[in-house]
């Protein structure tokens, strides 16, 4: 199973990772290997087996609906690159 170059570029874009042109063959090779392994796993007969949602055989613990957090905006925003009027500022998002 070998991935086309465009697929690798698309996956990189979805993950917001920039790839150097010369690295693309390496990533193509590595990703293709992973898919080959998946294909191999696909050949196992899993009929009648419940898909696993979590490796631990445990279920969710729930918390009571109580407000337990207080305002720590100043602390959190001390590491933000830019804030104004309590807002986090980011480069303009075009819709």
């Amino acid at each position: 199973m070998s991935l086309p170059k465009e697929e690798v570029e698309k996956i990189a874009h979805l993950a917001r990772i920039s790839l150097n042109e010369q690295d693309i063959p390496l990533y193509t090779h590595n990703l293709s290997d992973i898919l080959t392994l998946v294909e191999q796993m696909n050949s196992v007969d899993t009929k009648g087996i419940t898909p696993m949602a979590h490796p631990l055989d445990a279920t969710a613990r729930l918390r009571a609906d109580i407000v337990s957090e207080s305002n720590q905006r100043e602390l959190f925003q001390s590491i933000a690159p830019q804030t104004e009027g309590g807002l986090y500022l980011v480069p303009k998002v075009i819709e």
Partner: protein, 473 residues
């Protein structure tokens, strides 16, 4: 020639105190980012812990729509990049939602129809982006607010049906006390999937998704305008493109949104931070026992117990407060239920609408209305005068009997007094009397009107009718 196919996705914010996966407050309107904790910000090392109340509310909804509440459901990550989503994924449910296969009855033009509900799943809301010149400001107070996304089957065939369905869900979540339904604040939002196909065609046409439908009126308008657009496209030989369109209320048009690149490639997978959610039968049983009377049951009861029409019963049960108001009025006034219903649906509702008020903000209480209706029933005032009494109550006067006393609005039921009025009217209108006696029977109404007018609306209309008939026939 064309058949319309509509499915709705409704996002209802669940009315919890704290967020779905953190202990931060969900209160609306706080200063930006003062209710966004480390979990909501997606800081490294934090773990989400599910809010029990969220589970209870979703299960309540599932039971109310006769759905299957999943004994085991799973949270998944929906991956996309947007600045108001700090983690780079939204925690949602994908393959195993908490609620599956339910249904809801709606009513359009006095016809009942059942709409299927494919699923309802839990997820977290994103933050808000505020666009300035050159920069975007992010407020994450809303991030992590619990949402129940309710997905219908493509069962609706007109904008009217879509609105009826949306109103029904809106009423239901408020009956259940799981969502405040405030559309201005965005607690109740709706997207519509709209397509058209030739009548008789089995497969669906290509659909578009309409966003930004934040009022019942907009939903109806946006869908209708989109249907027209699709018909135009198809009839001029083009084809509908599957895309997301935004409704612009000012221009009353829909337009294509710049497609977020690869928007449909969310790469869902089970969230390893969260264990599967298991709902035990006992937990569900407890919720079942605590369910309030649901709108449809209440509607049936109103028809049986009070002899109301389907139309009246539907309106009166459209929300819980209105239904309570009606039942209080009936109980306190000891009057005919139909009379109570007429006043609430007529006079009261029109004043509420005119002043843009909710029943809970009504200026006339159920007990005041009941006192007034008692005075109609015991013949103290006529129905016509009652409208003036009602207005006085609305404008802040409190006691029905003192209003009637003060204005001298007591109904005239004294036979002698009414006969005197009749004689006066007859004397003034000899021509009409002659015409009436010569067979122009329609003029009877004229005489009734004149007598009522002369009495300033205070004569008992029934007596006027009877006495007048004796006198002039």
């Amino acid at each position: 020639m064309w058949e319309v196919v509509i499915g709705l996705e409704i996002h209802a914010q669940l009315a919890t105190k704290s967020k779905i996966f953190s202990g931060a407050s969900t209160a609306y309107g706080a200063e930006p980012n003062t209710q966004a904790c480390a979990v909501d910000l997606g800081l490294p090392g934090v773990l989400p812990v599910l809010n029990e109340e969220v589970v209870r509310m979703a299960a309540k909804f599932g039971l109310a729509i006769n759905a299957k509440v999943a004994p085991r459901s799973v949270f998944a990550r929906k991956n996309y990049f947007y600045p108001d989503l700090p983690k780079g994924y939204q925690i949602s449910q994908y393959e195993l939602p908490i609620v599956e296969s339910g249904q809801l009855k709606i009513e359009v033009d006095n016809q009942e129809k059942t709409i299927g509900i494919t699923r309802a799943h839990l997820e977290e809301d994103a933050g808000k982006s505020l666009h300035f010149h050159g920069l975007t400001g992010i407020d994450l107070n809303r991030a992590g607010t619990p949402l129940l996304e309710i997905v219908s089957e493509p069962d609706m065939r007109s904008a009217k049906e879509a609105v009826a369905y949306m109103k029904k869900i809106h009423s239901l979540v408020r009956y259940l006390d799981i969502c405040d339904g405030n559309m201005q604040e965005g607690s109740f939002r709706c997207d519509a999937n709209v397509s058209i196909r030739r009548k008789g065609q089995a497969e669906f046409g290509t659909r578009t998704e309409l966003k930004n439908l934040n009022s019942f009126r907009f939903v109806e308008r946006a869908i209708n305008i989109e249907i027209e657009r699709q018909i135009d496209v198809l009839e001029s030989g083009g084809s509908v493109i599957q895309e997301t369109r935004l409704y612009d209320a000012d221009k009353n048009e829909t337009r294509a949104m710049r497609s977020k690149e690869e928007a449909n490639d969310y790469r869902y997978f089970p969230d390893p931070d969260l264990l599967p959610l298991v709902i035990e039968p006992e937990f569900l049983e407890q919720i079942k026992q605590d369910l309030p009377e649901l709108p449809d049951d209440k509607k049936q009861r109103f028809m049986q117990e009070y002899g109301l029409s389907l139309y009246d019963a539907s309106i009166l049960t459209s929300n819980r407060e209105l239904a309570d108001y009606f039942e209080d009025t009936v109980k306190l006034s000891r009057s005919e239920a139909k009379l109570c219903a007429n006043w609430i649906i007529g006079e009261l509702s029109s004043l509420l609408n005119k002043n843009n008020l909710d029943i809970s903000e009504s200026k006339v209480t159920a007990s005041q209305l009941a006192n007034m209706l008692r005075r109609i029933t015991d013949n103290t005032i006529s129905g016509k005068i009652a409208k003036q009494v009602f207005e006085a109550l609305w404008n802040g006067e409190r006691d029905v009997d003192s209003i009637i006393e003060k204005h001298g609005w007591k109904q005239v039921t004294d036979t002698g007094a009414i006969e005197k009025l009749i004689d006066e009217v007859i004397a003034k209108n000899p021509k009409q009397l002659e015409a009436y006696r010569n067979g122009k029977e329609k003029l009877f109404g004229f005489f009734v009107g004149q007598v009522m007018k002369l009495s300033k609306g205070k004569a008992n209309p029934k007596q006027v009718n009877e006495l007048l008939k004796k006198k002039i026939s």
